[in-house]
Symmetry: C2
Subunit: 425 residues, 2 copies
């Protein structure tokens, strides 16, 4: 019988603030970082489970301390039994009554649980020799709903309704998997639009994005209206009328600001307005959505848990759901939110502007396509073109599409050399 | 010129789980704990600023790590200038863009900022020789609104509206301060109702509460309907018809459960139903409030920040606002929420079921009465009768009322001997 014998952590930080990659109206100088977790076993097969929380620098050490607080729940456990009941494991971690006080189900502790859960999924996928998306898409509807905690969701989505959604999608799974392997999954790129780039770099990167086959780009906005108008003008001119241009305010505005600002940007043809205000403000987003229609409101990268997403959907406060895979509690809560989105007919376009997020979230979107929503309509995975070289299985993006990873695992494993080189001291 | 020269932290845990003090439907065995912070200066006056985050045990070490992450913001600062602009200090801490990613404005990092902010207020109150409630109540309306960050609030409360509320309350300040000193502030007690107590202990403690002059008690419910009905029957019989009995489900239910359960408990005459479901679920609470009316819905001890409270008020989702002083970001965010409550005409009855919370929150309720809401109608401070002996200025509660502390400071200073004895190793 194999056991989990160690939980190792690493405080990994990349000095991205030096180039202003990732800069926006609220995050002027992020250092893309990972609070990184490895689960070791004595199975003798050389396989480890890897997971991480994406952060942007300071405080990554606190996030690592939160990972360490989970050691007692994980080390010593029977590997087979744990991996066979990841719904039960999720429940044990999220409902530890003392740790729960520190959220509940939000912030540093919840994200730490997410990294641990995802590391367990990584280990399971490696042991089964499958990429995570394919492992998840091979589960029965009953096995999938057993992974989900329906507490606090039943006024919007019951277990039976989730089963119906999954059963309805089942007959088409094989055909969609074939499509996915042949054609990939749509992507959009945020690379041109960071706020710290000058106009020349913006224009050049827009041109490259179109040449690379992307059909949507995204620009950061929200700090200076005049500058936003100038930058959108450049982007629209370079890209032409057929490329979709989304904008992202990164929570910069109050409700009234958002409405006024979007009136001014409306003439540029806006694909969506992302994070117009506080990520906790369901009612504020709903008010903005009504006022700026038909421009879609997108949000979710800072939404703490499934209860927030439930309300955003109930209130019609978003029409593009931007789940962040490492902010909610791992693969299981991602699945809960994919099911909620399917119930409400809202597309999920996951947040991936970070280190390792592209590698991780593609598995969830591909599972969504094959086994849950059954569609790629209006669905895109964000793409940013940096730091992929630090991962064991970097994404394969060609002509604006993600091609499915074939290597076993959840995509979350960073190269040992990169961990060593970028460990924060 | 004096500077802050050190930030010291302590992981303090009391073994309350041994007696089931504090036990409820979601927290069966809490160990009341404090992630504790001391700010030292070189002023030579012997004064220190103390603050803490209340937790219930495991994870208190992670909370301490979050306190430590604030060292760079605090150590080395000019004491006078910092204390003269605590609005600016709050803004610097909450809007540190890298730390903000770990919430934003919620969970471990936000609570750590709250402890630091409150420690600064404690230091300022000691230096001015005033208890915090009196210090706050001596500020001008303009000085008070300068402490508040109105970002994300302006669709419900603007700076000008807040000023109006404070100006309207100003003429009555002196008279209300006199009233407060003479008659104290109303309290209610949670002491009889912890879920882990047997029926005999429940009856005895109910009898004692009435004899002690309390006019409201609170019972934990939500784990077992039959047991709740039995325990409410005992409490109502012992207390008689005139004592208000509130119930507290500690987030145990989904929306439908809450509505059904409260139908069954309605005949006992319920003063309020507290935390019926997820503390993030504004829309769920609103649905429950509509269904269980006229029973008031109370919540807030786990509401992460002012944006959540804004929505609870906008949606009519609560009619008793139970702010937790150490969950939001310190004195400043408490003031923001008191102002929101005043705007909506909703009474604030702060959460105090923890260690040190009674000592801390009384200052905020008394400030609210003197300078903001101007009323004690339907306002009560929770009281629990344990662990007060560990504080330098323990609460003075007589005949069911809190009497105003006179000692300088925020009430947050724990005895050095208690810190030493209960430091977790």
């Amino acid at each position: 019988m194999a056991r989990i014998i160690a939980l190792q952590t690493h405080d990994v930080r990349f000095p991205t603030s030096m180039t202003l990659d990732g800069s926006d109206a609220m995050n002027p100088d992020p250092d893309y970082s990972a609070a990184y977790l490895r689960l070791l076993t004595d199975a003798g097969d050389g396989l480890e489970g890897h997971g991480f929380v994406f952060t942007i620098g300071r405080g990554n050490d606190v996030q690592v301390a939160a990972l360490r607080a989970l050691e007692g729940h994980l080390v010593g456990r029977d590997v087979e039994r744990t991996l066979a009941d990841l719904g039960g494991m999720w429940h044990e971690l999220v409902h530890d009554s003392q740790l729960r006080w520190l959220g509940p189900e939000k912030g540093i502790m919840h994200m730490a649980i997410g990294a641990a859960v995802t590391a367990l999924w990584d280990l399971r996928a490696k042991r089964e020799g499958k990429p995570l998306w394919r492992l998840l898409a091979s589960l029965t509807p009953e096995e999938i709903v057993d992974l989900v905690d329906f507490r606090y969701l039943t006024d919007a989505l019951t277990r039976d309704e989730a089963l119906e959604i999954l059963r309805a999608a089942r007959p088409g799974r094989a055909e969609r998997e074939k499509q996915l392997l042949a054609r990939g999954f749509p992507a959009y790129t945020t690379t041109p639009g960071w706020l710290g780039y000058d106009d020349g770099k913006l224009a050049r990167l827009c041109r490259e994005a179109v040449a690379d086959g992307f059909t949507q780009i995204k620009l950061k906005v929200g700090a200076d209206l005049e500058a936003d108008i100038r930058r959108l003008g450049i982007a629209r001119e370079v890209c032409g009328p057929d490329i979709r241009i989304a904008v992202d305010a990164n929570q910069r505005w109050d409700v009234g600001d958002a409405i006024r600002w979007m009136e001014a940007l409306r003439p540029f043809g806006i694909a969506w307005i992302e994070e117009p205000t506080s990520p906790d403000d369901v009612l504020g987003h709903a008010a903005i959505a009504r006022a700026v229609a038909p421009i879609p409101v997108a949000t979710g990268e800072h939404a703490a848990n499934r209860v927030l997403f439930k309300q955003f959907l109930q209130a019609g406060a978003l029409s593009v759901l931007q789940l962040d895979a490492t902010r909610v509690a791992g693969v299981n809560e991602n699945i809960a939110i994919l099911l909620l989105a399917a119930k409400f007919g809202v597309p999920v376009c996951p947040h991936a502007g970070g280190v390792g997020l592209c590698e991780a979230v593609q598995h969830l979107s591909m599972f969504d396509y094959v086994a849950v929503s059954g569609s790629t309509d209006n669905r895109m995975i964000e793409y940013v073109d940096h730091l992929h070289e630090h991962f064991v299985t970097p994404v394969e993006v060609h002509k604006g599409r993600y091609f499915p990873p074939g290597a076993p695992g959840a995509g979350t494993e960073m190269l040992a050399a990169s961990i060593a080189e970028y460990t924060h001291v």
